[in-house]
Symmetry: C2
Subunit: 223 residues, 2 copies
DNA sequence: AATTAACTGTGTACATTTAACACAAAGGGG
DNA sequence: CCCCTTTGTGTTAAATGTACACAGTTAATT
């Protein structure tokens, strides 16, 4: 390796698609760009990685400082290094998916002058800056594979969820419909969840039983 | 983003675990370190990423220049950014898996004074420098998932392979044994391979039929 | 109080897939 | 010609997935 100054110096940004369940809808958190270029377009939150921190550390910091969110479940997804990502600079993007339950999501910081955020349904994404639409798409694809190969959705449903709620999340992410009875059978016979003994309140019909995930998050074929 | 010089400048290296089939054995290509630190230990091949190339370009170049190999099937695996990876420098590693068929693998460049390479059985890895053992392990784990979710092993068996050969590759990578008849049935009923009409020669028992993969590489649940 | 609407919980029969298993076929070597 | 080795094929039982109908619980309506 020679020392041609700069040649081997790269700028890295971390980008995250944070998902949550809001009113039964799977949503992703986006940030509105306040300045040119792409003013008014939406972007994935993230930060520039310093050379004295890990990418994960940077990700956690960015999420906490800019969004006010803590305890986001993170998983590395993909690196984007095409030269034309940003017309001005050469920046390599490292994308993550993040999962946060609806209660923790309430602590999201209020919008300020310089930061405006919003949750969008994953089927209804606004116009996005740079190649962020592509990155988000890849991240959703990643999440899709993840939820059929692990109980990772535990992070969206930390405790006391109903099976119809869980099923709706699966249906939205996988973009399919499932049979209620078979869905229930699957999760119970796989031993993934347990009945808490309680039922929920305020629904429209018969109250649903409340469940919680038994095991920690780990890989396991579900579907 | 401020312009504190250097703060946001990162050094990236690409590292690849190139797999092939050699005499029925799944092997990975390693490079022997000729200088301190870790002299004599083995490392994954790779290169430092310049800021005028994509990581993939760098990977392809490194493989061609240092190893003399072309047409390696590549797939991104994981990023390692811990601060203690290398005691001297802060280098972020981006790992890939590479697959190359046994014929193309023959074109590997001869060893020179500064580069010594060798193929190692994946169950019999030598002592490795830095965190490369960990990275290789993660890459093998990645390959493992990959072969049950896609026909990616097509890159190791470009044409005219026998089913027992293919099965042995699966068994080594997954570290299991499988039933011959069920294995055959699986690949045939899934429509993944087709009979070429020929049989191989020089074996010990009954000559095996030769097959070839029908489809291009794509994701699909096999096991 | 009875009825209706909306939603949840449970069981059962059928189809499909996986898993286990035994024997015949083809070549090489004595 | 027999023996050894390895490959190719079919069949059966078990497990899993799929489709489907009805009963339970609550709130709203009459």
């Amino acid at each position: 390796m020679d020392f041609n100054p700069g040649k081997y110096y790269n700028i890295l940004e971390s980008l995250v698609s944070i998902f949550t369940i809001d009113q039964g809808q799977v949503k992703v958190l986006l940030l509105r760009k306040k300045s040119e270029p792409y003013r008014g377009y939406w972007i994935l939150p993230g930060g520039i990685v310093s050379n004295d921190e890990t990418i994960e550390m940077n990700m956690i910091d960015s999420i906490e400082v800019k969004l006010g969110l803590k305890d986001v479940y993170l998983e590395q997804c993909h690196i984007f290094s095409n030269l034309d990502r940003d017309p001005d600079d050469r920046i390599i993007a490292i994308s993550y998916i993040g999962l946060i339950d609806n209660v923790s999501a309430l602590f999201k910081r209020e919008d300020r002058d310089d930061i405006q955020t919003a949750w969008f349904k994953i089927g209804d994404i606004p116009k996005m800056a740079y190649d962020h639409a592509r990155i988000l798409k890849k991240n959703i694809e990643f999440l899709r594979k993840k939820i059929v190969n692990s109980n990772v959705l535990k992070s969206l449903f930390p405790s006391d969820f109903t099976l119809p709620e869980l099923q709706k999340a699966y249906e939205q992410i996988l973009n399919v419909t499932m049979d209620r009875r078979n869905f229930r059978k699957k999760f119970i016979t796989l031993g993934l969840i347990e009945d808490t003994g309680d039922t929920n309140v305020g629904g429209n019909g018969r109250p649903a039983k409340l469940y919680s995930f038994k095991e920690e998050i780990k890989e396991r074929n579900l579907f």
